[in-house]
Symmetry: D2
Subunit: 340 residues, 4 copies
């Protein structure tokens, strides 16, 4: 259940109203947009008489029952697009960003070379895996803590904010200087991790699980928001289907559907979805056209030697060419890339 | 196995070479492109010594083994993009077309109103169902033969070439004046129908089955081409996955992948894939950006009253707005819409 | 909507009631079970006042609205299990049958050898492909009409009723002496074929499509029954999923679910589902235990030389061993195999 | 790469050989079966000359290259069935066990009533959720630590070993007295959790993820075994497909396939797969017949009031009836239930 308040209601009255609701046993979630202030009730609202509440509280413009199981992420509660700030780089609500970098951080030289190059080509955030989830216990798992240090070195060189994956909540203290916490596809329903990143005051990039519906993705974002962190970026990265000619099937319908249901920014990762280098550029173009707020594109200084996922990485020259093209397309869509 | 011939080989020598190959028990398929003439062998070529054949026949530039199970549709055999002519409307190889119209033809008034309107908005071909495959035996099955007559009446009024579905080979004589024979998703592996439309000298629009791989789609196109009809247009229209928020999952990766494997034009049907009106425009934009050669978009003069699939049809005003946008995007991609 | 009649109502009164209903614009379907006579109305019954009809017609015991989109196949309409007779072999309602034979009929010698052997092992019906749907236009398509003749020769030798696939309705006249018409998975939604086999007075074995839901399977059975043929046997043969270690995923839950929704017999084809010989026996055992009414098991006199699907065929000795085991299990379930 | 040793080789010689191999940079895994002692090499064995190693070390009977990416779980390495002991209850290698209990532990009364009843009916292990993964952050999450205490109280009353889910590695110290650690479907690729449970000396029940292949399941078991814990029980519980009439599609082919590839016991959870009470019994029967080593069946003293998953729980009387039936079937398969 949500209550949209009348314009200009004083803060004190709002707080008094919230206290009353909470005394009834509900949690509340306050959303202050540029045009509306909305109070969202969480709990079993079936017992509430909506009309009486509206009539008896003159600060309320109108009330509405929300039938979807997600509240805080619901666009009904927060009709304007949310803009998330990753360091000084805003994403969503007209700002389109490109996150690039290697699957795994391999050495200081490598990550700094890649960071400088992708920045020169126009990328606005740097990604790189320090902790890597790998199907086999015998595969390269990333450089771990040292990988995080190398990413921060690359940030000092280039100023690019850093996005990197956290695999479990015990690692979180190591991520203090990281700009965006990535929750990977396999952890999309690791509910304890979701709750824990929800207690940090840092953007979270939440990837859709391989076999998760859009509603489940929104519920996982709700986990994060229900702990107080509303800086969530959703990422479509392909789902598992019967088709075997691509690694996964990129579900671009997810972008407009998610943007209809939620106010959160939505980005696309064509590299992991396709798993084939030659598909990255056409899918990136399609993602811009379908309405995404950003892209995550894997690049490597030497894909043939990459320690993981080389087959889908662009080399730095290919990325430069792609970015020239994407910048024209972002402009065509009336969006902006870079700092605000 | 394919043989690429030297430029300027006289026709007579080519025919003699083909006779020789056929005398060995192989079928052949001759592809005369603007730059290369290619002869494709069909049959078990494992027994042929490729090098000897090349050495002993001086008309051959080089030979290649093709490992994919499809031959005639293979881009290796025909490196240039094929352009298919639907009436006077060319599709593929830089020509982008928009096919529009209602799910079912319902009356002369309806189909003519829709045809005039979509033509004015920029559509270049008219679609409409006369024979409708329906899951329930009790649902409206289309007007049948009368529906075809009404489509032809709409063609006389507007000049738009007609695309409509043929459900079984016994209906084919009724389709004499129809421009493009559509083979629906459920019939993608109706091999007898494929073979039969392969004997007509008419473009075939072949829709991907709900649970068919891209390789199976290409094999079905091969069925048509193996009977001599090389005017095949492939259509991605969504696949069946676990996701339930859309009717099917539109697989846009299919477009660049198909265009890498085959020379045939590839179009996209966002209406049937999504099953939700509001997704049609963003998915149509994405299809243009991903490299499709055309779109098939369902429209209706009064979607709320449509006898089938109303929930996904655009009304005529919505289609007009979308076409304005799409024309700019087709131009952005360096492609052309309309007659040549 | 269904009306269950009082016991002992004279035929004349039933006919008069049916005429009245049909005069209102509905189709009817009369089901005469051993305990109940049920009349099923097909059409938009929303306009009928159920209570008035029951009150005003004293032959009616009670009436019920059926909300599922299938009527004639619905167990509500026909609560007892249907038994279908394939020649002199009854299937369903306690009778369990095993259909066996090669993927393709290859020669008279082969099919007669296989038929004699599987009969000796305990199979009660013979299968064999004469018309074969093949993904590639260059693959072996079966012996066609000659294959049907060879199957009939095997029937003369062994007395086993014949099950074989019809690929399109123009072939039907060739199937006059065939006992059971198989509609293959790829044709499950070839609605014109369904309707046509519905006009024959012969059992139809309807295989579930690779990507079809159980409701769609029931609707396809409804197509056949709506034309008057109520001798339909449903067959689960695996669905397409992301798992690649089997050819398809056998959905054994389908058996009890279908038997809850419909009165028709349900059999299982473990050979095509798994595509791997070693899985045929365990899946056949599971199919007996889960409540199936029969099995379809591929066998070959020489699997290594089979012209199609050899990898999943049991040889004749393996089939003999399996049948010994299955006979004990069929008995354990309280069912019978063989003629009545 | 595996080396099968000659019978009767003294321990000292084995250790010396292992030291030599490890000095070459490989990990080793020693498997001492009743008939063979096998040493498994983990690492890139491409550089090893297999024949020379066999010739130069007379303790080796023969060597073999293992191409599957999993080693310790591979049946090649350990040809005999592994029997895992959950408390005094052995599972696998002829011992079949039935784990039963409620989705969530709700109160001491409830869990003790259920435990006594399922034990009386023949269940041999007790399950119950204390920490519950829930899609929604607002749903009941289980009683947590208190739930574990109540399970242990039920164990004291009945002697049944306890199986319950651990959701993240920080909870593990609370599980000291729990007999079997369950890793849930959503955590099947939570690699840090897998590694951590691999360090405990306790059986692990590893559920297949909703969209995970059998190879991925085996790789996750390999994670656990690679840390030294070889007491792993695999559990098939349904996969996500397009079919919506069941919650998931139970993949019973997985059982014989897994048992071919690995020596670990494999059980089936029909309750979570189907999500519908009426399917539990037929699927349980099929699981016994297909060759499973056990079942996990949800029961509740009052399903209509269950705080989670009531729709799929059997009540205690239904479970009693089912167990009578299952005991006859387990005997039919030549297996035993209960303590050894």
């Amino acid at each position: 259940m949500v209550f949209v308040l009348k314009p200009g209601v004083p803060q004190q009255k709002i707080e008094r109203f919230i206290q009353k609701i909470e005394s009834w046993g509900f949690q509340t979630f306050l959303s202050t947009g540029t045009e509306h202030t909305v109070i969202c009730l969480i709990g079993n609202t079936a017992t509430i008489d909506l009309d009486s509440v509206v009539q008896m509280n003159d600060i309320i413009e109108y009330g509405k029952r929300v039938t979807e199981p997600y509240k805080a992420v619901n666009r009904t509660v927060h009709p304007e697009d949310t803009m998330v700030n990753a360091g000084n780089v805003p994403i969503g609500n007209g700002m389109f960003q490109v996150i690039s970098g290697p699957c795994s951080v391999e050495s200081e030289e490598q990550i700094i070379e890649v960071a400088k190059s992708v920045k020169a080509s126009g990328a606005t955030m740097l990604r790189g895996g320090a902790f890597k989830p790998r199907t086999s216990p015998y595969a390269f798992m990333g450089l771990g803590k040292e990988g995080l240090q190398l990413l921060l070195a690359a940030k000092r060189e280039t100023g690019l904010p850093i996005v990197t994956e956290v695999m479990n909540q015990t690692q979180l203290p190591l991520f203090e200087d990281i700009d965006v916490l990535q929750v990977g596809a396999r952890n999309m329903q690791n509910f304890d991790l979701l709750r824990e990143v929800g207690r940090y005051n840092k953007p979270v990039l939440l990837k859709r699980g391989l076999a998760n519906t859009l509603e489940e993705l929104l519920m996982s974002a709700e986990y994060i928001m229900s702990e107080g962190n509303s800086q969530v970026i959703l990422c479509e990265r392909g789902i598992r289907t019967f088709e075997t000619s691509t690694r996964n099937t990129l579900d671009l319908s997810a972008v407009p559907l998610l943007k209809q249901k939620t106010h959160l920014p939505v980005i696309v990762d064509p590299s992991h979805a396709a798993g084939i280098r030659v598909l990255v550029a056409p899918l990136a173009r399609a993602a811009v056209a379908v309405g995404a707020d950003g892209l995550m594109i894997e690049t490597h200084n030497d894909p043939a030697q990459a320690r993981s996922d080389g087959a889908q990485s662009l080399n730095l020259a290919q990325f430069e060419v792609l970015m020239e093209d994407l910048k024209r397309r972002i402009e065509f869509e009336g969006k902006h890339i870079g700092t605000a």
